[in-house]
Structures are given as structure tokens and as C-alpha cells.
Amino acid sequence: MFFEVLTRLWLTAAALMTSQYVIAGPMGFNDSYMAMGDFNNHWRESFINYAITPRDALGVGATYMRADDKTKTRTLEEVIYTRLLQRWNLPHAQANVWFIGGVGALQGEDKQEGVHHDVSKVMITPGIQFDYETTRVYFAATHRFYRASDINHDFTSARAGFSFYETDYDKTQPWLIVEARNMNGLSDKVEVTPMLRLINKNFFVEAGVNNAREPRFNFMYIF
């Protein structure tokens, strides 16, 4: 809905971004690693970063993307920098503004009207995320540019949800999260995915089925 045309690169970007936004922060605490994965039929992505300071992280990610009509496929390998621009620590809530930007190699192919065309370009992916979270509600909005020469695969996502009940710190808390997202050029639809989120101090997993009836699975792990 937000964007239509650029199926290939956008999917790559979207996959990468999605995994970064599944929780309030796209990075862990200082001196920690965060590993993430985001998988559905149109993309499979894995990502890891290392928090070099309480506000900065460096990482690498690899993503496979495919257009809805399967005429375009993309792979993106990126080096990504994450910066916590602003944080508000409230008594029972936290809000953040993040910068996430990467540069990497975009490769793929287009197969349209009998024409086969290979893609190999450098892509840059600067973006912004805002999120707000309490122990019971969650909201995040993300926009990230995915640009290369003659390519625009900008990604937009909004997530909102609630937890079913409060839990202790060391117990698993279930959430219902709904995400709407679009990747320009890879899909002309808005993908809407309700997901069950299970969050624990040691793990984070989400699973759901989108409005195209495709399964989706996310995970995150900090160590």
C-alpha cells in the first residue's frame, strides 16, 4: 500500500529491518551480542550485532528476498550500524528513537516477460525507528530507505500489541502482536501478520500467519 514497484531490493531491506524491530531495541546491552532471525516464504534473514557501547552496535546481516509474483529474487549482505539516538525511561514505560543504517552488496535477478536480468549493486539502508513499550502494550514504527542506483526499496512497518497478563521477570510472557509492513518494489500489498510472541529473559520468539496465509517465524537471542 505504501509502496509498490520495487519488489526485489525492498524485500531484502524489509527482511533485514523486520528482524531488527521485533523488540523495543534492535541491539542488546553494552558488550553483548544480539542474534536475530526472520523467516517466511518471501524472505529468510539472519542478523547479528555487537553492542560496542550502551548506545552503539555494529553487525552483519544476510537476507534472501523474493517478490510476491516470484519474478524477482534478491540477496543482501550488509554491514549495519545501530545507534540509540534518544531514550526516555519512564516509571512504567520506555520509548526510544533508533538510527539503523547499513551498506552492503545487493545481488539478484529479474525474470519478467521472458527477459532475465541480473542485479549486482551497492545498497545503502539508513532508517529510523520509534518504539514505545510498557509491560502490557507495545508499539513501533519504522521507516528505512533501501537505495541503490536506479533502485528504491524503502521499507515501512508498524507494530502494535499487548501482553495477555503480567508475569515475573523470570517467567515467559505471551503477547499478541500485529504487524503491517510494505516493501516498495517487492510487493504491492501491505502484509499484515498477527503473531503470538513469547518473551522471556533468555529468548524471544514470534510465530504467526500473514494475510496471504503464509507462516512466519521470528526469534531473537542476546548473549
Binding site: 523488540i23 523495543a24 531495541g25 542488546g28 546491552f29 553494552n30 553483548s32 550502551p54 540509540l84 531514550r87 526516555w88 525511561n89 519512564l90 516509571p91 512504567h92 514505560a93 520506555q94 513499550e133 510498557t134 509491560t135 503480567e166 508475569t167 515475573d168 521477570y169 523470570d170 510472557q173 518473551i199 522471556n200 529473559k201 533468555n202 529468548f203 524471544f204 531473537m220 542476546i222
Partner: protein, 114 residues
């Protein structure tokens, strides 16, 4: 008189042992701590300290409690700095002689946790 002296001596020794073994727990009130997955950094940092015996985190009450090993001390500023490094703000901090288990039981009792 001899028995009294022995009792006093034993009592003194036992009391001094008890006093030396007295629990010291640093308890901080923390803003922004709403997600266990995100707040695990606080616990890991605290457990990484050589002085730490046990750690308790309660998101709803916004509490981080660090129980120290016997005879160990830890500056409050260290606790504040570690929590800040984990991405949160300390709004109040105090030292108590209650062990973490006691603090946890007390809070969970108030919350009605079974």
C-alpha cells in the same frame, strides 16, 4: 561463674560470626525496565561482579536487588553505573540487610504471586 563465662564467650563468638555474616543487599528503583528480554542485561552485569551473591529483578515493582557475598562491599555508584550502561535510569537506591530471597518473598506476597 565459670559456666556464665563460657556462655558469654560462646555467645560473643556466635554473635560476632552472625554479625560478620550479616547480609547486605543493594536495592535500586529503576525507570524504563519493562521488558525481561531487554532487562536481562542488568542481571548479567550484576552477576558478573565478584561481590555478587544473588540478584533479583522485578519489572512491575521496578526493582533490582543485588545481594552481596559475606564480607563484600560494593559502591552504590557501581550499581547505578551498571544499570545505566544497561540502558536504564536509577531513581532511588538503598542498602538493606535483607537477603534477596526475603525481598522477593515480600514483594511476591504483596503481588499475590504463588
Amino acid at each position: 561463674m565459670k559456666k556464665l563465662s563460657i556462655v558469654l564467650l560462646v555467645s560473643t563468638v556466635l554473635f560476632s560470626q552472625w554479625a560478620m555474616a550479616a547480609t547486605q543487599t543493594i536495592q535500586a528503583k529503576v525507570n524504563g525496565m519493562v521488558c525481561a528480554f531487554c532487562a536481562q542485561g542488568i542481571e548479567k552485569k550484576m552477576r558478573g561482579l565478584s561481590q555478587t551473591k544473588d540478584v533479583y529483578v522485578n519489572l512491575k515493582q521496578r526493582i533490582v536487588a543485588v545481594e552481596l557475598k559475606e564480607g563484600q562491599t560494593l559502591p552504590e555508584s557501581t550499581v547505578k553505573d551498571l544499570i545505566k550502561d544497561a540502558g536504564y535510569d536509577v531513581t532511588a537506591i538503598e542498602i538493606t540487610d535483607h537477603p534477596v530471597a526475603h525481598i522477593k518473598a515480600e514483594i511476591e506476597s504483596k503481588q499475590g504471586v504463588k
